[in-house]
């Protein structure tokens, strides 16, 4: 009687172990292996295996085995009819009764029954959840060499139910993860399509101006480089790159003759051209972009820090940071590419332009970030030389450019420091 009580206490403790293993194991196979150990350890069994049932393609996949050397099978076919039969019975199958109960091989199939008997399995417990077979656990060889008692069977039934629920829950989790992966894939595809559409759109914008072909794409790339140097998040970097690609979309509503005028345009034409940021905003605002600021980047890319820009004459921090980045990228590309009425500036002149216009037209932190990114390329730090490639071969002479960049960065940082000190 005392021994029976001790066994029950041990089984009860094992049941607690089982709950912990099912709840805490993140890895499916690890969970199954641990639960098999718990059942074997609860009753002192020398061998056992756990199989997961897969309805499609109707097979039992043996996930964990213990005490069977290398003889445990990997999988066995198991048709849906047999699975249903096991669920209806939902009891334990005693394989030592195969001689006296001819129905047993029918339930498990002759081949599987023979395999399990050869592995000295004596008891099989179907794992049934919500009336469906999720697997089975096969056990054998009590270390005491005794037969399974009624109490042993109760313990096995209870544990089999818990293991079945554990397998079922892991399956649900796997299904959720699979769907999440599918959604991620779909989202990435959609982002790819969005990016390609944006690039195609940028190309269409630039087609209108025969002298600025590739301008929008270059502005997008410069903006991305600056944002990365500023330490923005990947989402922000992608947003500002798209803003760069689309910043001139409003030019689609401006007369082609004005855009392509081979001379300096007059005030009236200039006013017409200056409509393009607001027009761009009108075009982009109804679209649900991943980055909601993209329409504002188009609208405010001609605003200036000193408030003398257009269309609204915003000042300093009134201008969204991404629009400041696009503004510099846009101006830098304008300075470093040929236009209908002028040749591009030499790089030292560009540096001078940046020096004199930082704090007036351009935000100081944005100019510093761009100069730093370019300096890194000049020093050969990044493998990919993106800015120098966009500028074309021979435009940048490292030994000439390096001191200019270093000097400008130091000067702008000193200015920013002094401004902060005065503030």
């Amino acid at each position: 009687m005392a021994e029976q009580t001790d066994k029950l206490i041990h089984a009860f403790s094992a049941l607690a172990d089982l709950g912990a293993e099912i709840a805490e194991s993140r890895d499916f196979e690890e969970m199954v292996r641990s639960t098999l150990h718990v059942v074997l350890g609860a009753l002192g069994l020398r061998r056992g295996l756990v199989a997961e049932y897969e309805r499609e393609p109707a097979l039992l996949r043996f996930v964990a085995a213990w005490g069977m050397g290398d003889d445990a099978p990997n999988m066995a076919t198991f048709d849906a009819g047999r699975a249903e039969l096991l669920c209806v019975g939902s009891g334990l199958l005693n394989l030592s009764e195969t001689q006296t109960r001819p129905a047993l091989p029918q339930q498990l199939g002759t081949e599987l029954t023979a395999t399990l008997v050869s592995l000295r399995v004596s008891l099989v417990a179907p794992l049934v959840v919500h009336g469906e077979l999720v697997g089975l656990i096969a056990l054998g060889g009590k270390a005491t060499d005794e037969a399974f008692t009624a109490e042993d069977r109760d313990v096995i039934r209870t544990m089999a139910h818990h293991i079945g629920v554990g397998i079922h829950n892991h399956r649900l989790l796997r299904e959720v993860e699979r769907r999440a992966d599918e959604n991620r894939q779909l989202y990435n595809n959609l982002r790819g399509i969005y990016r390609d559409t944006v690039r195609a759109f940028a190309a269409a914008i630039d087609c209108k101006d025969k002298y600025t072909q590739g301008h929008s794409e270059r502005v997008g790339k410069y903006a991305e480089i600056i944002a990365r140097e500023l330490g923005w998040s990947e989402e922000q970097i992608e947003g500002v790159a798209v803003g760069g690609y689309l910043h001139d979309v409003g030019k689609l509503v401006v007369e082609r003759d004005i855009i392509n005028a081979p001379y300096r345009i007059d005030a009236k034409q200039s006013s017409e051209l200056n409509r393009h940021p607001a027009a761009g905003y009108e075009i982009l605002a109804p679209i649900r972009h991943p980055d909601a600021d993209i329409p504002l980047m188009a609208k405010y890319h001609h605003e200036r820090i000193d408030g003398r820009g257009y269309p609204e004459g915003l000042m300093g921090d009134e201008i969204p940071p991404a629009a400041k980045v696009v503004a510099l990228a846009d101006s830098f590309d304008a300075m470093t590419t040929d236009r209908t009425y002028r040749r591009r500036k030499e790089f030292p002149d560009v540096i001078e332009d940046l020096r004199s216009n930082t704090g007036r037209q351009f935000a100081s932190d944005v100019v510093i970030a761009f100069c730093r990114a370019l300096l890194k390329e000049v020093d050969g730090t990044p493998r990919e030389r993106r800015i120098t490639r966009l500028l074309g071969k021979g435009y940048i002479e490292p030994e000439l450019v390096r001191p200019l960049l270093v000097e400008l960065i130091e000067e702008l940082e000193a200015r920013a420091h002094a401004t902060a000190g005065n503030g």
Partner: protein
């Protein structure tokens, strides 16, 4: 006495064909798997006898029992002798209750276990 920190090696020593493996104070999945790994390694290396020393073991859970049954199985498959030494309290009671004691030799401590094994080896040599 606390449980050995995760990942800490299992203490074991080898004299000739005999290996002694020391179980910690709590034999569960983590410590059990480490002990099992060492036992299997020693058997692969050619040890003909294993002593598992439970002198410091105060608690064995269900997974620990199952893993020890695996060690018994591994020893039987290589015809090696297995002695459980120094088991007392809950561990000894559990080994008795679940039938592990039918498949291993029990010894009150490591020294007695080693003596038993040397007598066995001597007897085996004499029979030859």
């Amino acid at each position: 006495m606390g449980e050995a920190p995760a990942g800490s090696p299992v203490r074991s020593e080898r004299t000739g064909d005999v290996a002694v493996v020391y179980a910690g104070d709590y034999l569960n999945k983590l410590s059990g798997e480490r002990i099992e790994r060492v036992c299997r390694e020693r058997l692969r290396e050619g040890c003909r006898a294993l002593v598992v020393d439970f002198n410091e073991t105060s608690m064995v859970n269900s997974i620990g029992v199952s893993i020890l049954l695996g060690v018994i199985d591994a020893a039987e498959r290589t015809s090696a002798r297995l002695v459980f030494a120094g088991a007392s309290g809950q561990a000894a009671q559990l080994f008795q209750l679940l039938g592990l004691t039918r498949h291993v030799t029990l010894a009150p401590d490591k020294q007695t276990a080693l003596k038993l094994l040397s007598e066995f080896t001597d007897a085996g040599a004499a029979n030859h």
